[in-house]
Amino acid sequence: MTRRRFVGVGLGAGLAGSLAAQSFAIARAQGAAVGAPLKVGVLLPRSGVQAGIGQDCQRGVDIAPGILKDLGLPELAIMNADTETNVEVARARAERLIGEGAQLIVGAFDSGQSTAIAQVAEQKGIPYVINIAAAPPITEQGYKFVFRNFPTASMILADAFANQKEIFAAVGSAPKSVVFMHVNDTYGTSMQKGIDAVLSKADMPYKILDTIAYDPAARDLSVEVAKAKATGAEALLLVSRLNDAMLLTRELVKQRWTPMAVLSMGPGWYEDQYLKTLGRLADGPISFVPWYDPNKPLSKALEAALAKAHPDVNLNTNHIYTFEALLIAADAYKRAGSADPKALADAIRATDIGNNVSIGPGIRFDAKGQNATLKNAAIQNRGGKLVTIAPKSAANAKPEWPLGPYDKRG
């Protein structure tokens, strides 16, 4: 053997040995028996353009331990990580969390980032519970370790149209035309494709005059709003994020356009940061979103825990679904009796939680790993608070219609 070959073989063997030892260490850590807390990697966009929402999701993580303990569920050891609102970073952080011993992954608010994490989780064989992400393809890949307790874009759309019709009937008025504005990310384009596919069958009273896609990281949306206003549409139909929702509102005010209604089918318009930053200008928009059933006992417990930790923050989708993802993890860990990834995944697949927060009969997954029983609500911003106006079964207020003129709000 030459010196060069010796060195090459030696290095190769060393590398292989090191990798094997590392894999063994990960496997040993990830197969730890119940008793020790389950290591849960929580991936959220804590910085970047979605930072506000990622940090809001974190509140759902922060208030979970006390409630889970009261429910008699095992303790979770949370390993936080930041996706930086970037798909590639999300993928890398998921790999790193698993390398550091995470036994289950939760996250990541965004469909693009969640898709990347799902690929990693499936490849490594580590269960992944999606808190928020609606793009349908994530649970259409035949994955065995990926579970989503959040409605898909098509479920959100179907409920949004049903709830809109209920509101139009209640107020005796409906827009005849809308302009559809949406972010051009994975979620936004999924919703746009969904609308194109189902609107004709939904029998809505309005037609879409124009569709305007825009960058969720845009710094200025004046052109977009000018273009929307120029269509002469009576109402705005939207799929937004947080920063762009604030920018759009500012432009509506500056360009002196108050549509009959702002109908949002995504985040942004009901977020606390939106309500606080815009004050009275935040009143009126209606969001058609996955929400919570205020009548469920666990909803009251979650509301109380959030009020204690953050007295000035309203309970919202971010807290609810992030909390429920951890609830699913703890419940599965208890039933599995082990942190073995396969046992955990099997336990999650058999989940049947009736005592939950979100609207619908409870948490259970179909063969694809999707909770298909979830229902959405219509909520309206009112005086810095959020009221539920549809469906009737979960409503606690009547809709205020039409949108109050922006120039008469003081």
Binding site: R46, S47, G48, V49, A51, G52, Q55, N184, I212, A213, Y214, D215, A218, R219, D220, L221, S222, V223, E224, A226, K227, K229, A230, N243, M246, R250, V253, K254, Q255, R256, Q273, T277, L281, Y406
Partner: protein, 290 residues
């Protein structure tokens, strides 16, 4: 589409473009004299924006009223940076200068993240939601004030370089480095002053920009790139070119978004850059290098 919409959008693009132009002006001044491209330019503007936000949050001081003090702070930062950090690199290869300024930019972004966190921050002045209606034309009050301030600052800068002794000395350094040394000009000090003036420009621009967009630490690189594109389009080293480039990019982005798709606004910016590089590589108002 009603005709007035084009006018509204073009005016909005023009006002935004003026602010872009002022930002690029600082970069152009620095390159025109010191022959260094400041790759931390956008990050320095972000620092100015955070200063404006901090002063507004703490004392309710209007960013436009704070334009001069913030520009003065950035002037000092630029002077110190040039004397302490950049000066030793003046005669080093361009890749060394590039790496130095990129490193400075990264440090600035991360320092801002540590100091202010990742959340977007903005200021809500009394005129934040105001607009003026002039017949069918609706002008955003914030953009109008920012645009006017940009024109005023740019005019002051032109006057400084044309009529003051220091301005003339700086121009002499830019025109003939050896000649400036021969006649006894303190070139090192003038370089530091030039870098400081370019930084003050970006400081003034930051005070205006915070009225138009919310600031986050990662905003800097986006604006560094934008300033660079504007300066290349207008002509590296040409002050008038920087302003023209800013206006051109602002109006093109706005009208391009209106006529085609708003998602592709930045595509038009880069399309202009490609066209200029192909047919007038020295930039619209730049001098052809011999």
């Amino acid at each position: 589409m009603p005709a007035e919409i084009y006018l509204n959008v073009a005016v909005s693009g023009l006002l935004t473009g003026l602010v872009y132009g002022l930002m690029a002006l600082g970069l152009s001044v620095i390159f025109g004299v010191v022959r260094i491209v400041n790759f931390a330019h956008g990050e320095m503007m972000t620092i100015a924006m955070y200063l404006a936000v901090a002063l507004f949050s703490a004392y309710r001081l209007d960013p436009l009223a704070m334009l001069v003090p913030i520009a003065a702070v950035l002037f000092a930062l630029g002077y110190v940076m040039q004397r302490g950090l950049i000066n030793p690199f003046i005669n080093r290869p361009e890749h060394s200068q590039f790496m130095l300024l990129v490193a400075a930019a990264l440090i600035m972004v991360n320092a801002l993240l540590i100091a202010f966190g990742p959340d977007a921050r903005g200021v809500q002045t009394s005129y934040a939601f105001a607009s003026y209606a002039l017949g069918p034309l609706i002008v955003d009050a914030t953009k109008a004030y920012a645009g006017l301030a940009a024109v005023t600052v740019a005019a002051g800068l032109f006057a400084f370089f044309r009529y003051t002794l220091i301005g003339k000395a700086i121009r002499a350094c830019a025109d003939n480095y050896a000649g400036a040394l021969v006649v006894g000009l303190d070139v090192k000090r003038l370089y530091a002053l030039t870098f400081a003036i370019g930084s003050a420009c970006v400081g003034a621009c930051g005070s205006m920009m915070v009225l138009l967009v919310d600031v986050t630490p990662p905003l800097g690189p986006t604006y560094t790139l934008l300033a660079f594109v504007i300066v290349i389009t207008g002509g590296l080293g040409s002050m008038a070119g920087a302003l023209l480039g800013g206006v051109l990019i602002g109006v093109t982005e706005a009208l391009g978004g209106l006529l085609f798709t708003p998602s592709a606004k930045s595509m038009f910016t880069f399309a202009i850059l490609v066209v200029v590089l192909l047919f007038r590589p020295q930039g619209l108002l730049g001098k052809r290098l011999t």
